[in-house]
C-alpha cells in the first residue's frame, strides 16, 4: 500500500476481552505508551456489570489533532473474546484490521473480505513461555501489546521505562513482562513483513499533561478541600471516589507524631445513612462529603430537602450512570440533572457543579466545600461514569498555597459576645445568607434548635404563615446570591460569530469541540458556551438571548438541562434545540454533527 495513505497518530483501536482475565492492565500499558510518545490518547473502558467471564472492551482513540472525544469507526480490533467475536468483526471499518488469536483456526463466519486479518498464536506462544496457568492467561495480553507495538511502531524503550516505574520495588515482575512483549514483537517481525497503514510517531503534543480518571481527582480534591469526614455506601461508578480519598488520606492525613488520622471515613449501611452522617458532620463544623450514583441520589432525597431547608452545608458527588432504576450500572449518562436540581418534595433547588475534565473534578470538589459553607446549602458535583472511571488527558492539577478555606458565616465565641440575641435565620447582610454557630462554641449564647420544621428568624418553631413565607423568600434571595458565587460558564469566543450557538456541559465538551471544527469545515459556524454550574448566571442568559438558535448537547433522553434553562431563565423552548445521546456510551462528534445539521 502506498505511503501517502498511511494514517499517522489518528486511529481508534478496540480491545475485546473477557473481564477478569487481566486485560485491563495490559491495555492500559498500550495506551500509556502512546501517551508517553507525546501523542494525545483517550481510552474508554466498556465493561460489564459483573466480576468475571463477560465481554469487556477497551477502546483507545489516538488523535494527532488532540481530539479527546469518541468518534465512530474502529480501525483496529484486537479480538481475544470468542463470546463477542462475531459482533467485533462486524464493528471493524472497511479496510480496518482484525487481530486475533490464531492458536486455533478462525471459523469462516468471522471472515470478511473488506478487512485485514492479523493472526497471532497468543495462547500457543504463551503456553510455551509460561507454565503457571494464571501467568499463561495473564501474559497472553502482554504478548498482543508487544505485537501491536511492532505493527504500529511503538518505541520499545517506552515499555521498558513504564514497566520499570510500575514495578519499582517488585523488579522480579519486570522480566516476564518484557519477555512477553518481546514474544509479540518477534512474531510480527517474523510474519508480517510489510507495515500496516496505521502508525504511531513520536510527537510533542501532550506537554505536561497527566493521565488520570475523574474519580481519583475528586478524591484528591476532597483531601485538598479539607474534607475530614466522608460517609459512603459502595455503588458503581462512584466507589472509586471514596477509595481515592481513602488512599490519599492514608498518605497525607496521618499525623506523623501521633500516627492518628486527621480524617474519619465511614462505610455507611446505606445511602440514607451516608448523607445523614454528612449532614451531621457539617452541622458540627467539619467539612464532610459523600459520593454516590443514581439509586443513591434517589434515596437521599429526603435528607437533601432537610439540608436545603435547615441550611446545612452538604457536599455530594454524583457519578452518574444509566438510569432509570438500576439501569446499566457500567454505562454512562447525564440523566440525574433534573432529579439533582430539584431533589426532595416541596419547593427546593440545589447547587450543581459540572466538571468536564479530571482537573475540574479536582478543583470543583475542593471548591464545593467553600461553596457549601458560604451558601449553607447542598452542593452536588455532577460527574459521570465516563469522566469518573476512564483515564483522561488533563492539564496538571494546581493549588495555591496562599488559598484559605472559606468557611462562610460562622460566629465564634467572641463574635457571639458582641451580639444581643443570636438569630440563626436572620438575614443580617441582606444577601439571604444567615449566620451559623457550631455546637460547643459559647456557654450561654448561640445555641439554637436545628429542625426541618418551619421556624422563625430565631430558630423558634412556628406555624405562622407569614414567618414561613418570609423564610422561603429569603431562601430564594440566597439562591440569587449564589449566582455570584458559582463558577461562571466558559465562552469559546470573544464575541458572537454566528446566530447559532451550542451549549454543553460535562463530558460532552470534547466531542462537541470536535463537532464544532467538523461543522466549520463544512461552513457551519457555531458559537459555544460550556455551563459549569447551576444556578445559571447572566452570561448564560445573554448567550442564549444573543443567538437565534442554541443547540443543547446532553446525554439523556429527556433533554433535562434544556428544561432547567427554560424553568430558571424563562427561555422560549423554540430556541433550544436538543442534541441528545443516551445509549450509555459517551456521545461522539459524529452524532453531534448529524443532529445539529438536521436541526439547522
Amino acid at each position: 500500500m502506498s505511503v501517502n495513505q498511511v494514517k499517522i497518530n489518528d486511529f481508534v483501536i478496540r480491545f475485546a476481552n473477557v473481564n477478569g482475565t487481566g486485560s485491563a492492565s495490559a491495555n492500559y500499558l498500550f495506551c500509556k505508551s502512546i501517551f508517553r510518545m507525546g501523542v494525545p490518547v483517550t481510552p474508554k473502558n466498556i465493561f460489564p456489570s459483573n466480576i468475571q467471564g463477560l465481554p469487556t472492551w477497551y477502546e483507545v482513540r489516538v488523535s494527532e489533532k488532540g481530539y479527546l472525544g469518541r468518534r465512530e469507526g474502529i480501525d483496529i480490533m484486537v479480538s481475544v473474546n470468542p463470546q463477542s467475536m462475531l459482533a467485533d468483526v462486524g464493528n471493524v471499518r472497511t479496510g480496518g484490521y482484525f487481530l486475533y488469536d490464531s492458536s486455533k483456526p478462525l471459523h469462516s463466519q468471522y471472515i470478511r473480505d473488506d478487512i485485514h486479518y492479523i493472526g497471532i498464536p497468543l495462547m500457543e506462544m504463551c503456553n510455551d513461555a509460561f507454565t503457571d496457568p494464571r501467568q499463561r492467561q495473564l501474559f497472553k495480553n502482554i504478548i498482543y501489546v508487544g505485537a501491536l507495538s511492532a505493527l504500529l511502531n511503538i518505541d520499545f524503550k517506552v515499555f521498558e521505562s513504564l514497566l520499570a516505574e510500575q514495578f519499582a520495588g517488585k523488579e522480579k515482575l519486570i522480566a516476564p513482562n518484557i519477555k512477553s512483549l518481546q514474544i509479540g514483537v518477534d512474531y510480527i517481525h517474523e510474519h508480517y513483513k510489510d507495515p500496516i497503514d496505521i502508525r504511531v510517531e513520536s510527537r510533542d503534543l501532550v506537554g505536561d499533561s497527566i493521565m488520570i480518571d475523574g474519580n481519583t481527582a475528586c478524591g484528591l480534591g476532597a483531601v485538598y478541600g479539607g474534607a475530614t469526614v466522608a460517609a459512603w455506601y459502595p455503588i458503581t461508578p462512584s466507589t472509586s471516589v471514596i477509595e481515592s480519598f481513602m488512599s490519599f488520606s492514608d498518605e497525607y492525613r496521618i499525623n506523623p507524631e501521633t500516627g492518628k488520622r486527621n480524617v474519619a471515613i465511614i462505610q455507611a449501611e446505606d445511602e440514607l445513612a451516608a448523607i445523614g452522617m454528612v449532614i451531621g458532620a457539617n452541622w458540627n463544623g467539619a467539612r464532610s462529603f459523600t459520593a454516590t450514583s443514581g439509586p443513591g441520589l434517589s434515596l437521599m432525597n429526603e435528607f437533601l430537602g432537610l439540608a436545603y431547608f435547615a441550611e446545612i452545608p452538604t457536599v455530594l458527588i454524583d457519578v452518574q450512570r444509566i438510569g432509570p432504576s438500576t439501569g446499566m450500572p457500567t454505562r454512562t449518562q447525564q440523566s440525574d440533572t433534573l432529579e439533582a436540581a430539584y431533589a426532595s418534595h416541596g419547593d427546593t433547588k440545589h447547587i450543581l457543579l459540572f466538571p468536564s475534565t479530571p482537573k475540574e473534578c479536582f478543583e470543583m470538589t475542593a471548591n464545593a466545600f467553600d461553596l457549601t459553607e458560604q451558601l449553607q446549602t447542598p452542593v452536588i458535583v455532577m460527574t459521570d461514569l465516563d469522566l469518573g472511571m476512564n483515564d483522561h488527558m488533563s492539564k496538571p492539577f494546581q493549588w495555591d498555597d496562599h488559598r484559605e478555606y472559606k468557611r462562610g458565616k460562622v460566629l465564634d465565641a467572641d463574635a457571639l459576645e458582641g451580639i444581643e440575641r443570636f438569630g440563626r435565620y436572620l438575614d443580617v447582610d441582606g444577601d439571604g445568607i444567615p449566620y451559623r454557630t457550631y455546637p460547643g462554641t459559647h456557654p450561654t449564647k448561640g445555641s439554637y434548635f436545628t429542625r426541618g420544621t418551619s421556624r422563625d428568624e430565631y430558630a423558634v418553631y412556628t406555624e405562622n404563615g407569614d414567618d414561613y413565607v418570609r423564610n422561603m423568600d429569603r431562601l430564594m434571595k440566597k439562591w440569587n446570591t449564589a449566582k455570584g458565587y458559582v463558577p461562571a460558564p466558559h465562552l469559546y469566543q470573544e464575541e458572537n460569530l454566528s446566530t447559532y450557538g451550542v451549549l454543553f456541559f460535562g463530558t460532552s465538551e470534547y466531542p462537541t469541540k470536535e463537532a464544532i471544527d467538523l461543522l466549520q469545515a463544512e461552513g457551519v459556524q457555531l458559537d459555544a458556551i460550556r455551563i459549569k454550574s447551576f444556578p445559571f448566571n447572566e452570561t448564560v442568559e445573554d448567550f442564549i438571548h444573543s443567538h437565534d438558535k442554541v443547540f443543547v448537547v446532553e446525554q439523556n433522553r429527556d433533554a433535562q438541562m434544556r428544561s432547567l434553562l427554560m424553568i430558571e431563565l424563562g427561555i422560549n423552548p423554540e430556541k433550544l434545540i436538543p442534541v441528545l445521546n443516551y445509549d450509555g456510551l459517551p456521545i461522539t462528534a459524529d452524532q453531534i454533527v448529524n443532529s445539529i445539521k438536521s436541526g439547522i
Binding site: 497527566i210 493521565m211 488520570i212 484528591l220 483531601v223 485538598y224 479539607g226 475530614t228 469526614v229 460517609a231 497525607y252 499525623n255 501521633t258 500516627g259 492518628k260 488520622r261 486527621n262 474519619a264 465511614i266 449501611e269 440514607l272 445513612a273 448523607i275 445523614g276 452522617m277 454528612v278 449532614i279 451531621g280 458532620a281 457539617n282 452541622w283 458540627n284 463544623g285 467539619a286 464532610s288 435528607f303 432537610l306 496538571p396 494546581q398 493549588w399 495555591d400 498555597d401 478555606y405 454557630t437 457550631y438 455546637p439 460547643g440 462554641t441 459559647h442 456557654p443 445555641s447 439554637y448 434548635f449 436545628t450 429542625r451 426541618g452 423558634v460 418553631y461 412556628t462 406555624e463
Partner: protein
C-alpha cells in the same frame, strides 16, 4: 409553638459545682399532652445533667421525629439541638460525633422512630459502638400521628381504634444486647429514682449507651376499663367520630426499691409489671444478661435497671484511630498537602 419560657431564676435554688441551679438546664415549655411520660424523662435528663455538672453547651442533643423527638426542645436550652428526620437520628449523630469527639452526644428517639423506620440505622449505630447516649421513649405507639401501634407494642394489646396487635413485639433492649451494645439499661418514665442514675451512668459510658424507657402515652392508650365518666367521653367521641378531646392526665409516677417487684397502673386501667429484682445475673457477662432478659420475657415481666455493660468498650473513634484533636478544629495546615506534594502527584500521572 415552642416559645421560650421566661428565664426567671429562683435565687434560693441549690447550685451544682458549676454554680448552675437546676432550672439552668431546662428548655422551652413543653407542648406535649399533660401527663405524657416523655415529659417525665425530660425532667430526668435535666436532673442528671444538673447533678453531673455538665456544661450544657458541651452537649449536643439530637432526635428524629415524633412526640418523643420533640423533647430535646424542652430541656437544655443552652445546648445545640438537632431535630432531624424520621428514623435517621443515628446517622446524623454519627456524623456529628465524627466531627467533634469532645462533645457529649445525647440522642432521643421514640419506638416508632427507632423500631420501625429507624431500625436499620439503630442496628448499625450499635454495631459501630458510637460514643453516645441513646434514649428511646417507648410508648408502644405512634403518638404524634394519633396512636397507631408501633413495632414495640405488646402482641395482643389493643390500640386506640380498638384493634388488637398481632405481631411479634420488638424488645429493643434485648435486641441491643444481641447486637453487641456495650451499655444496655431499661427503666420507666415515672421512676425518677431509678432513671436519673441510669442516665448519669450512660453519660459516663465511653461508648454506645442505650436506655429503653417505658413511657406511657396517656392520650392514645385509653382502652376500655377506665372510669365511667371517661367512657362517656370516649363514647361521645366515637359517636362524633372525631378524635378531638384529650383529657388532661396526671403523670404516672412510681418508686420502688432494689430487689422488689412493682406493677404500675396505667390510665387505661391496665398494669405493667416491672421487675427490679436484686440482680441474679452478671451484667458484665453477655450470656447471663441475655438469659436474664429472655427469662423475664417468658414471665411477661419488664426487667429494669442496668441489664448489660462492657466496662471498657472500644468506640468508633478508637476503632478508626482518629486524631484526639476534634476533626472540626483542624486547620488548613493540618489538612492540605499543598502545592509541592501536588506537583509530585502530577508527576506520577505523567
Amino acid at each position: 409553638m415552642t416559645y421560650l419560657r421566661p428565664k426567671f431564676r429562683h435565687p434560693d435554688l441549690p447550685k451544682n459545682n458549676l454554680g448552675y441551679s437546676v432550672d439552668y438546664y431546662e428548655g422551652s415549655l413543653s407542648t406535649l399532652c399533660a401527663g405524657c411520660g416523655h415529659d417525665s424523662i425530660s425532667a430526668g435528663i435535666i436532673q442528671a445533667a444538673y447533678e453531673m455538672d455538665i456544661e450544657p453547651h458541651r452537649l449536643a442533643k439530637l432526635s428524629g421525629i415524633g412526640c418523643s423527638s420533640k423533647t430535646p426542645a424542652y430541656f437544655l436550652s443552652n445546648s445545640h439541638g438537632f431535630n432531624s428526620v424520621h428514623g435517621r437520628m443515628p446517622s446524623v449523630a454519627t456524623g456529628a460525633n465524627m466531627a467533634n469527639r469532645d462533645l457529649i452526644y445525647l440522642g432521643v428517639s421514640g419506638d416508632g422512630d427507632t423500631a420501625s423506620i429507624g431500625m436499620g440505622q439503630f442496628v448499625h449505630v450499635v454495631r459501630r459502638n458510637l460514643n453516645m447516649v441513646y434514649i428511646v421513649m417507648n410508648n408502644g405507639c405512634y403518638g404524634l400521628t394519633k396512636g397507631q401501634d408501633s413495632a414495640t407494642a405488646d402482641s395482643g394489646s389493643k390500640n386506640k381504634s380498638g384493634n388488637v396487635n398481632l405481631f411479634q413485639s420488638i424488645d429493643l433492649a434485648s435486641l441491643a444486647i444481641e447486637l453487641g451494645a456495650t451499655f444496655v439499661a431499661q427503666s420507666f418514665s415515672g421512676d425518677k429514682t431509678q432513671l436519673v442514675p441510669l442516665i448519669k451512668a450512660a453519660m459516663n459510658h465511653p461508648g454506645f449507651a442505650f436506655i429503653n424507657v417505658i413511657s406511657p402515652c396517656v392520650t392514645f392508650n385509653n382502652n376500655p376499663g377506665s372510669t365511667k365518666s371517661y367512657d362517656f367521653v370516649r363514647e361521645h367521641m366515637e359517636a362524633t367520630s372525631t378524635f378531638d378531646f384529650v383529657p388532661e392526665m396526671a403523670e404516672i409516677t412510681t418508686s420502688y426499691s432494689e430487689g422488689t417487684q412493682k406493677s404500675v397502673k396505667l390510665h387505661d386501667g391496665t398494669f405493667l409489671q416491672f421487675n427490679k429484682l436484686a440482680q441474679d445475673w452478671d451484667p458484665e457477662d453477655r450470656l447471663s444478661a441475655i438469659n436474664a432478659v429472655q427469662n423475664a420475657k417468658v414471665k411477661n415481666e419488664i426487667l429494669t435497671g442496668l441489664l448489660y455493660i462492657n466496662p471498657n468498650p472500644v468506640d468508633l473513634h478508637s476503632m478508626i484511630n482518629t486524631s484526639l484533636k476534634p476533626l472540626n478544629s483542624l486547620t488548613k495546615e493540618e489538612l492540605c498537602p499543598g502545592s509541592e506534594v501536588l506537583k509530585s502527584i502530577n508527576k506520577d500521572w505523567r
